[in-house]
């Protein structure tokens, strides 16, 4: 028998929930204040998932990185596998926001998508120029 204790994160109250597991099955859930909290605790035991965010390397961009996320929550247990895959990736600017970088990463069913555009670096940007009021309307 295993007893797993959680602080519920569904709402700000933060109930202390305990889940009692026997042979991989949940036999009891205690301490929850609402059914959403109970569901949360059960999910945390059976299949905890998280959105994973990080940055990957990017060549020839205005910034040397592109921020990315998984487009859906991934199983917590796949975190390190996915991080290892992403650490070996280098993309080339320009990158647009929402661009898919890796499809179905580590068979998680989630894609890695860019959360920040990274345009090609502008080599002339340090040149002096007259006071420039930028307008989006060209």
């Amino acid at each position: 028998m295993a007893v797993k204790a959680f602080t519920c994160t569904v709402c700000p109250i933060g109930c202390e929930i305990t889940v009692i597991v026997e042979e991989g099955k949940i036999v009891d859930v205690k301490g929850f204040g609402c059914t959403r909290g109970k569901d949360y605790a059960v999910r945390e035991v059976l299949d905890p998932r998280r959105i994973l965010v990080t940055v990957i390397r990017c060549r020839n961009g205005r910034l040397p990185t592109v921020s990315v996320k998984t487009d859906k929550p991934i199983p917590k247990g796949k975190t390190w596998e996915i991080m290892r895959i992403l650490s070996g990736i280098m993309v080339e600017a320009p990158i647009s926001m929402g661009q898919v970088i890796v499809r179905d990463v580590a068979d998680s069913g989630a894609d890695i998508v860019a959360t920040r555009p990274n345009p090609k670096s502008d080599e002339n940007s340090d040149q002096p120029h007259p006071i420039r009021i930028r307008s989006f309307r060209r």
Partner: protein
């Protein structure tokens, strides 16, 4: 180049962008000044989700949130100058005119505006303000510096890290370091309770096995050229160091996440009234400061929990600027908002009887089963749990506010009728 505008917005982060967009939508001529080389502000380096739930009803990462706002600014055509720093301002209330001195790589120049929306954000508290003594060596960073290094420039600030401060910023950075392979030795918090949201305690610390040291303090940093160790001590309930509890923790990096302070130097120089509890200006319901025509919003007004609140305030400040220009000033009978039991801060400081109002409240200490109570208008809202980490946002209807005579008091009191 045009030198006169209805509104000059200082700062191109969430608050400033929202203010610029709203002002344009209200038909005002707008110029936005941003001192960095890009619009978007700090969320560009906050790559985690949790942004946009209020504004867009979606869970976005910081960069996505900023780019939504940049997209809106693009759509309505908010003119802006990048790398432009406001070095000073002068107000001429009789002429309803404000002058701004601007320094940019292309030269220094003056601008005139009928109104200014000041949205320059906050600065991070530094090591002196955290009361940490010892060597000033390489390896000491504020959380924001470390975040920019990692998540904009792809540079790891260190390998063995101690984080000072358990607010959401400290917790989220602790997770980032751990995820990128650093060993986070602990998050050190002076108070007996964590400063951040429960969700972040679970998802940032517990998920990665990072210890949280409550009622502890980094007293001293030691090292030659690079941080080598932090001296950590326990503190008592009055936050005094308990002698004999010192221990050394080996580390190469100390991260300071000990809070933010509204950056309002140009406003202070003008002599705006400042609220010591927020560190920002005193404002009325249109977020106008004590100097007519100068409005403020976002973290320059007060440190917000959510960038969404900064956006909401930006819109409100723009509405204020619109009313100011239309009516040649804001002629309202402002009533003061007082702070009662367990209320650390309440914004705005003055409200009008005739208008709906949004009030942001932060409590002094955590409590359960309480209610937010305004005795003057007999208004209350039940709250199962309040924490200093979570700003309370309430909307009051103009109808309720008609009952005010002199002012109102916001208090958090035990909810005795409960259960």
């Amino acid at each position: 180049m045009k030198r006169g505008y209805d509104v000059v917005v200082v700062g191109g982060g969430p608050a400033g962008l929202a203010a610029g967009v709203k002002a344009r939508m209200l038909g005002l001529s707008v110029l936005l000044l941003e001192d960095s080389d890009t619009l978007g502000g700090i969320p560009l380096q906050c790559i985690h989700p949790g942004f946009g739930l209020h504004c867009y009803g979606e869970d976005l990462t910081g960069p996505e949130f900023s780019h939504r706002l940049i997209g809106s600014a693009e759509e309505v055509g908010v003119n802006h100058i990048l790398n432009a720093y406001v070095s000073g301002m002068a107000a001429f209330p009789d002429n309803r005119r404000i002058t701004l001195r601007v320094i940019s790589p292309d030269g220094a120049f003056k601008l005139h505006a009928s109104t200014v929306i000041y949205a320059a954000g906050a600065r991070e508290k530094h090591i002196f303000e955290a009361g940490i003594v010892g060597d000033r060596v390489s390896g000491l960073y504020t959380a924001g510096e470390a975040q920019a290094l990692m998540d904009l420039y792809g540079v790891m600030p260190g390998r063995e890290i101690v984080v000072v401060g358990s607010g959401d910023v400290g917790l989220i950075m602790a997770r980032r370091f751990a995820l990128e392979g650093a060993h986070v030795k602990g998050v050190v918090e002076l108070l007996p309770y964590p400063g951040g949201l429960t969700r972040n305690i679970v998802q940032c610390l517990e998920d990665y096995g990072i210890p949280l040291l409550l009622s502890h303090k980094v007293a001293e940093v030691k090292g030659e050229r690079r941080v080598e160790k932090a001296i950590i001590v326990k503190v008592d309930e009055r936050l005094r160091i308990i002698p004999g509890t010192e221990r050394e923790v080996k580390c190469d990096t100390v991260i300071l996440a000990v809070g933010l302070v509204p950056y309002i130097k140009p406003l202070r120089d003008l002599g705006v009234e400042v609220d010591p509890s927020t560190g920002g200006p005193m404002v009325n319901g249109f977020l106008e400061t004590s100097i007519p025509g100068i409005f403020t919003c976002g973290n320059a007004l007060a440190i917000n929990d959510l960038a969404d609140y900064a956006v909401e305030q930006g819109g409100q400040a723009a509405l204020g600027a619109y009313n100011f220009i239309k009516n040649r000033g804001i002629p309202e009978a402002w009533k003061s908002v007082g702070k009662g039991r367990n209320v650390k801060l309440a914004i705005p400081h003055y409200i009008s009887r005739g208008r709906d109002a949004i009030i942001y409240v932060r409590v002094k200490k955590p409590e359960r089963n309480v209610k937010l109570h305004i005795p003057e208008i007999d208004w209350e809202m039940k709250l199962p749990s309040v924490k200093p980490a979570e700003m309370i946002r309430v909307r009051l209807d103009a109808e309720d506010l008609l009952k005010i005579i002199d002012g109102l008091t916001i208090e958090v009191i035990p909810d005795t009728c409960r259960r």
